[in-house]
């Protein structure tokens, strides 16, 4: 039985030798090119690697696995006793020699002259001073190639010399005299001196402590303690000037002053009248009131108009299904408003607002806006980049509106401006005769409230829909509904009559049409509104 250790060594050494022969590492030419450093590196590598492997392989010990021949077939015997008498190994010296030979072959293939030179130069390159840290002498500029000597300029023809030249050529005159050819003078090109950077980094022969001291002195040279203290005092004085604004801004942040205050007075009764239980339960937050609004509730003639108004108001402003909503905490609906709310508001803004608990939140928002503008001025005074954005106009963060339902009045819409605390805000009023839950009533209400809030709505193009078959026919009731997917009742007035039929309203594809309407409204409305 032959130990696997010997077999493996022979195979590996043979493979290394074969590879070396194939790559030419064992050729005579290769040996003649080897330099002394290469030979030293190969010898060092071969002896070190062989010693390390031999230390682990223990050539003096027999393998515990061996290859045997039984009935002419090779069999691997494993887990043999350490000193099994039948296991034969190469002598220890031969194994070591094979190891050295194998690594020498590898070294011959790898440690070529170039590779050894590169490896030898690594420490020198690592220790070389870097240009980022030291002032290094300028790299020698390459010797400029000799500039070709310019050909002498052609002789300058002088006036009145033609006859003299002719006489000279024919031999009648011995010299040309003043007509001798003269070359045009060539102005010498001025040499441009190369710009040289002033280096304040460490000099190559500069001790480290000297360099450190030099840096400290350079840093402190331009700074005067008196100037520094003076600038700090100026900064402090500027901040003191804005102290009230700073404190007020902090107060607004802590107390949670609204970022906007918009009030709508509606002449309808509160759809959620307050009972005595409100004392204990508190008011329902607006986020809950307007969360999960159904798309198109089954309104009837008996549906309370105020519920319908609240629903449409919520859909236009706060429904998340149509994209980014407004913040409902910035809006207050004042139900049960008097018929002449807007007239009274215009006559005595502050008195009316105060009577309806609207003055305090409006003033808080206006004050917050003023403070925000003041803090931006402070940043400019301190030569800092303002961190707060430019506050929107007062009319964007505060607004008042009235929605009047009066059966005796005609439909109307007016707009004017008010002055509260020196700031101009908008007042809009819409009057409608009635609110109907059936038919096109909700559509009219959507349009009316959108106008009240946004002032105007973009005119939307009519949809190019296919003609609608009669929905009254009994056959193909599903297919007959298909054109409704493209027939927008907000735009196509012809289809509004269909909404008188509850069974059509139940299946009308309102989602995409309402989506288009609210999207158009919000694009107009949000362009007029802002938040602090």
């Amino acid at each position: 039985m032959i130990g696997v250790k010997s077999i493996a060594l022979v195979v590996l050494a043979g493979a290394a030798a074969a590879l070396s022969i194939t790559s030419g590492a064992l050729s005579i030419d290769h040996f003649t090119e080897i330099t002394i450093p290469s030979a030293f590196a190969i010898g060092l590598f071969a002896s070190t690697a062989a010693a390390l492997v031999a230390f682990g392989a223990r050539p003096g010990t027999k393998s515990r696995a061996a290859l045997a021949l039984r009935r002419g077939r090779p069999v691997l015997a494993v887990d043999l006793p350490r000193a099994h008498p039948e296991v034969r190994e190469l002598p220890s010296l031969a194994q070591r020699a094979l190891l050295v030979g194998m690594f020498a072959c590898l070294g011959l293939a790898t440690f070529t002259t170039d590779a050894t030179a590169r490896i030898a130069s690594v420490p020198e390159e690592l220790a070389a001073p870097s240009r980022a840290e030291y002032c290094l002498p300028d790299a020698p500029t390459p010797v400029a190639a000799p500039t070709p000597v310019a050909a002498p300029p052609p002789p300058v023809d002088q006036a009145g010399c033609a006859l003299v030249k002719r006489a000279y050529q024919l031999g009648y005159a011995k010299t040309l005299g003043s007509c001798a050819p003269r070359a045009a003078p060539v102005a010498p090109a001025a040499a441009k001196p190369a710009a040289r950077e002033v280096c304040d980094r460490r000099e190559l022969d500069e001790p480290f402590l000297h360099y450190t001291w030099r840096r400290v002195v350079e840093t402190a040279r331009g700074a005067s303690p008196v100037d520094a203290v003076g600038s700090r005092i100026d900064e402090l004085a500027t901040r003191v000037d804005y102290l009230e604004d700073l404190l007020a801004d902090i107060k607004h942040s802590i107390t949670g002053t609204p970022h906007g205050s918009h009030h709508v007075w509606i002449t309808l009764p509160d759809p959620h009248p307050k009972s005595s239980l409100h004392v204990f339960t508190g008011e329902e937050p607006c986020t809950s009131t307007f969360a999960d609004l159904p798309l198109w509730p089954a309104w009837t003639a008996a549906s309370p108009p105020s519920e319908l108004v609240e629903h449409v108001f919520g859909q236009l402003l706060f429904a998340t299904r149509f994209g980014t909503p407004a913040s409902c905490s910035d809006y207050t609906i004042h139900w049960d408003a008097p018929r002449d709310a807007c007239a009274r508001l215009a006559a005595d803004p502050e008195g009316f607002l105060d009577a309806h608990d609207a003055l305090a939140p409006i003033r808080a928002v206006l004050d917050r806006r003023r403070r925000q503008a003041a803090l931006r001025r402070l940043a400019v005074a301190l030569d800092h980049e303002p961190t707060l954005p430019e506050p929107p106009p007062a009319s964007s963060v505060v607004s008042v509106a009235c929605f009047v339902v009066d059966p005796r009045a005609a439909d109307a819409f007016t707009g004017r401006s008010l002055v509260v605390d020196g700031e101009t805000i908008l007042l809009r009023e819409a009057t409608t005769r009635a609110i109907a839950g059936r038919g096109a009533g909700p559509l009219e209400l959507y349009a009316r409230l959108a106008q009240l809030l946004a002032g105007s709505m973009p005119v939307r193009d009519r949809t190019a829909a296919e003609p609608l078959d009669s929905l009254a026919e009994p056959d193909f009731p599903l297919a007959r509904l298909e054109p409704l997917a493209a027939l927008d009742p907000f735009v196509e007035r012809d289809v509004r009559s269909l909404l008188e039929r509850p069974e059509v309203v139940e299946v009308y594809p309102f989602d995409r049409h309402l989506h288009a309407f609210v999207d158009a409204f919000r694009r107009v409305y949000f362009a007029q509104r802002g938040r602090l």
């Binding site: 999960d292 159904p294 798309l295 198109w296 429904a319 998340t320 299904r321 296919e466 003609p467 078959d469 056959d475 193909f476 009731p477 599903l478 297919a479 007959r480 509904l481 298909e482 054109p483 409704l484 997917a485 509850p502 069974e503 139940e506 299946v507 594809p509 309102f510 989602d511 995409r512 989506h515």
Partner: protein, 190 residues
């Protein structure tokens, strides 16, 4: 016999429906019965070919499609089933987006069969919603209720959400579910 089954099925469903939706539920029940009784894929293919031949000028309008379907059914009792098929065919362009249709054109030997497979994948999402909806006395009633109420709640899908169907008009929702519930799946290249 077939007519009797249709009538009985429709009556059973209507018995549990609310008055406003009685006709709708009866129609859905009739469509389910008709599709289950015959070969829905054969009828679908037949309708598709006829509509392709006669309604292609300027896009197939529902009135033309209805006319073709009415003619094709003739004396056969397949009007309710044809209504479902026509609605699904009319909604095809809205349910399968342009890139998907282009892919199907490139990769399928039978475009229409491939579209049916693609639509079925979308119907399956609806069917999952139906399975999770509160049970009703009949399948037709459950489909009707789901499709009437489905758009009432906010339904927004992320652009890359594969298993999400956004807002869907009633008739498309109902037709899709009736087709899905009454047919077996088929490969794109049968």
């Amino acid at each position: 016999m077939k007519r009797a089954i249709v009538v009985i099925g429709a009556l059973a469903a209507v018995a549990h429906a609310a008055p406003a939706g009685e006709a709708r539920v009866a129609h859905l029940a009739a469509a389910l019965t008709e599709l289950r009784a015959g070969d829905p894929y054969a009828l679908e293919r037949e309708l598709h070919e006829a509509i392709r031949l006669r309604c292609r000028t300027g896009g197939a309008t529902t009135s033309c499609m209805i006319g073709v379907a009415r003619e094709l059914c003739g004396k056969r009792s397949c009007l309710a089933a044809a209504d479902v098929i026509v609605t699904n065919q009319h909604a095809e362009r809205d349910l399968v987006d342009e890139p998907t249709r282009m892919r199907l054109v490139r990769t399928s030997s039978d475009y229409h069969a491939a579209v049916l497979v693609e639509l079925r994948a979308r119907y399956a999402i609806l069917a999952a919603e139906l399975a999770l909806a509160r049970p009703a006395a009949s399948l037709a009633l459950q489909i009707d209720r789901l499709c009437v109420e489905r758009d009432q709640i906010a339904r927004r899908c992320a652009s890359d959400a594969a298993a999400c169907l956004g807002s869907l008009p009633y008739q498309r929702c109902a037709a899709a579910l009736v087709w899905f519930a009454s047919t077996e799946p088929r490969g794109a290249n049968p």
